[in-house]
């Protein structure tokens, strides 16, 4: 057997060095982390690194004690070391990005308790964190049973005493760690953080398994899918001819068709796999949109439309997300179901939704690119099923016109008077009930869209800057309201004997 370039001992040392480096890094990040950082997530990652190291050590001991030649044992040790390094690299790639940005002063701690409360409606044992990113998009990442998942994955390799120890420590950790990311640029804008409701929709989707009621969608009999397969079969394949030949290739029939190179069923498999992945992505996105719009009412719709307009409202559908027009179309239908298009809805909301409907009529909903077209039609054919699945899970807290007309006016009155809408008169003489996050967001968007002038008139500022200053003050008032109303709600709950 040839001598390996890196000996087993060197491999083992590499593992130990990497474990020590990760521990140092984790310690450094823990020291830097503010009080509000996810300290239990830090603990989970620390336990995981310890566990990986112990699994490796016990494997090394087992290899040492087993019969066989020295070379065979060295090969096995090297294999175990490479396997362990891969685990450690995965742990670093998977978990550390969440730990790096938690000391950012741009984490909107004022929003965290309200978001945590909403997430707890779907899973009581969840810890939720917010962190900024430099990307344009919002994001969701969830870890379920982090340590137990590790044990299940490497069941055979983990010694029994370590399994017991991990189980004991796992019991002290939340079942779910949820990280929601948001673009840095909106960190201080309560209005533009409203799309976080969509990310909570992702959590609800995964936690409640809403997607399972739709997926997988069979597209093997879909006309759109067959058409795509046919189009691909007839496409001509450039054969990499020299430039002079390519010019000549403008003559039809020079290059072979795809179906002459690949079998039709192979093409079908590839197309169905690609379309299936796009459909899965879109189903998750649309479930989260529907969830957010039912939970957040017009506020989510306005925030999404503004978010999309900041990027490109007429953007095409991609593999990860449907087009904004498709999403807006679905949300408008859902708002109609919540009676926002009826006479029960305030006129201004009704008119604004109507103008979005008119805009939609000018937009081509069906995507041009073949795979996204398949996804579009697959979802269209299953739209009623999709909508029903979400409605079933949101019926208890859907934000209909009744809630809107009853509650939002108080929020708007406060904001127009330059006061954060933290509470409103309750039943008793000296009782104030805490406003809800969704009421506040709807009031904020209503003020922002339809009546910003009253708040602006309170501010002493030259006219060109007044508009901008007004939005800034509105955001600050909303921030304060979201933070304080949630604390007030918790105080009331505790005084009534709740937890």
């Amino acid at each position: 057997m040839p001598e390996p370039a890196i000996s087993a001992e060197q491999y083992s040392n590499l593992v130990r060095e990497r474990v020590a480096a990760l521990r140092r890094l984790l310690l450094d990040l823990t020291r830097k982390a503010p009080q509000s950082a996810p300290h239990r997530f830090f603990s989970a990652v620390r336990i995981l690194i310890d566990a990986v190291e112990r699994v490796f050590s016990s494997r090394c001991k087992a290899i040492e004690s087993q019969p066989g030649s020295k070379e065979e044992r060295a090969t096995e040790t090297a294999f175990a070391a490479r396997w362990t390094m891969e685990l450690l690299n995965n742990a670093q790639a998977q978990f550390f990005p969440f730990l790096e940005k938690l000391d950012s002063p741009h984490v909107p701690l004022w929003m965290l308790p309200a978001m945590q409360r909403i997430a707890s409606q779907f899973e009581p044992n969840v810890e939720l964190y917010l962190f900024p990113t430099s990307e344009h998009n919002f994001g969701f990442s969830g870890f379920r049973d982090l340590l137990r998942a590790f044990v299940q994955k490497f069941e055979l390799a983990i010694p029994d005493d370590l399994k017991v120890e991990i189980e004991e420590r796992a019991a002290k950790l939340p079942q779910w760690f949820v990280f929601l990311s948001f673009p840095y640029v909106v960190h201080d804008s309560a209005l533009h953080l409203t799309p976080l409701l969509h990310e909570l929709g992702h959590f609800a989707d995964f936690r409640l398994g809403i997607y399972k009621e739709l997926l997988p969608i069979d597209i093997s009999q879909s006309d759109a899918a067959r058409k795509v397969v046919e189009e691909i079969c007839q496409m001509r394949v450039p054969m990499g001819a020299p430039e002079s030949k390519i010019e000549g290739a403008q003559q039809p029939g020079v290059e072979p068709r795809v179906e002459e190179i690949l079998q039709r069923d192979v093409i079908e498999q590839q197309v169905f796999a690609l379309c299936g992945q796009i459909i899965r992505n879109w189903v998750h996105e649309l479930i989260s949109d529907l969830f957010a719009v039912r939970m957040g009412g017009p506020a989510y719709f306005y925030s999404f439309a503004t978010f999309a307009a900041n990027l490109r409202l007429d953007a095409r559908a991609g593999a990860s997300h449907p087009s904004p027009s498709m999403r807006i179309d679905l949300m408008l239908k859902e708002l109609s179901d919540l009676h926002y298009s009826s006479e029960y809805s305030p006129l201004q909301v009704r008119s604004s939704l109507e103008s979005w409907r008119r805009w939609l009529e000018t937009q081509p909903l069906e995507p041009e690119e073949p795979p996204t077209r398949v996804a579009y039609w697959a979802i269209k054919e299953n739209e009623s099923k999709l909508v029903e699945a979400v409605r079933k899970h949101t019926s208890a807290f859907s934000y209909g016109t009744r809630a809107y007309t009853e509650k939002v006016k108080y929020v708007v009155n406060d904001l127009e008077a330059g006061i954060p809408p933290i509470d409103r008169a309750g039943d008793g003489e000296a009782a104030f009930d805490a406003c809800d996050l969704v009421d506040i967001l709807n009031g904020a968007w209503t003020t922002y869209m339809f009546s910003p002038e009253k708040l602006e008139s309170l501010i002493e500022c030259p006219p060109p800057e007044r508009k901008l200053r007004g939005v800034s003050v509105l955001n600050e008032l909303v921030q304060k309201a979201i933070e304080a109303s949630e604390i007030l709600r918790q105080c009331h709950k505790r005084s009534k004997g709740g937890v």
Binding site: P105, A417, P420, I422, D423, S457, I459
Partner: protein, 203 residues
């Protein structure tokens, strides 16, 4: 001019509702005989000492000020330690909106004062003022004090103001601590210029 007592404060908050103090987490304990207890908010500003040459009100640019500050936010219930002689800006958790016929004075609660804490030097609040009050926190004692967000560290004494002032637009509605705005209050500079000694004559 009279100080509002408990019943009058309750009337203004809960009946006439022209005095806004939001949120009142525990009105029964917070509204005392002649004052209302306010709690510490979650936002703070500390000075970055190493980058702090000096505050010269006549040279300080508003944007320049930001370089000397370290702003941070805690979650409600978390604490910041204020070391002996350390100075920090905080704000009340409660948002106030005084009616045009009330002014107020903000005072350190005696229990915190005896521990060495001073919460405000500029204690007067104008009629019609709105916002979260900036607190000038200073530990005058010899040992560090842990200040919890949500602890009732100051009290507001409300006083009737006659005649009521007309409400005017405001420059800002602060919901957290606000650093010094000396440069923007430069009306006194023109006055001061008259007394400034001239420099040496140019060659």
């Amino acid at each position: 001019m009279s100080v509002l007592t408990r019943a009058a404060i309750r009337d203004r908050i809960f009946k006439t509702k022209d005095l806004k103090i939001k949120p009142l987490l525990d009105p029964e304990s917070q509204i005392e005989y002649g004052a209302i207890n306010l709690t510490l908010g979650t936002q703070f500003i500390l000075a970055k000492k190493s980058e702090y040459p000096l505050i010269d009100p006549r040279l300080l640019d508003t944007n320049e000020i930001l370089k000397f500050q370290e702003k941070f936010t805690l979650a409600f219930g978390q604490a910041v330690a204020l070391h002996p002689h350390q100075f920090a800006l905080g704000a009340t958790f409660e948002f106030l909106k005084l009616p045009p016929n009330l002014c107020a004075f903000v005072l350190t609660r005696s229990s915190f004062g005896r521990a060495g804490l001073q919460i405000a030097t500029a204690t007067y609040v104008h009629p019609s003022w709105r916002g979260c009050l900036t607190l000038e926190l200073q530990n005058l004692g010899e040992v560090p004090i842990k200040l919890y967000c949500g602890s009732p560290i100051c009290q507001l004494v409300l006083v009737e103001a006659q005649p009521a002032l007309e409400e005017k637009p405001v420059k800002s509605i602060p919901v957290g601590p606000v650093f010094t705005d000396l440069r923007n209050q430069s009306y006194w500079e023109q006055y001061l210029d008259k007394f400034t000694c001239p420099g040496p004559p140019e060659a």
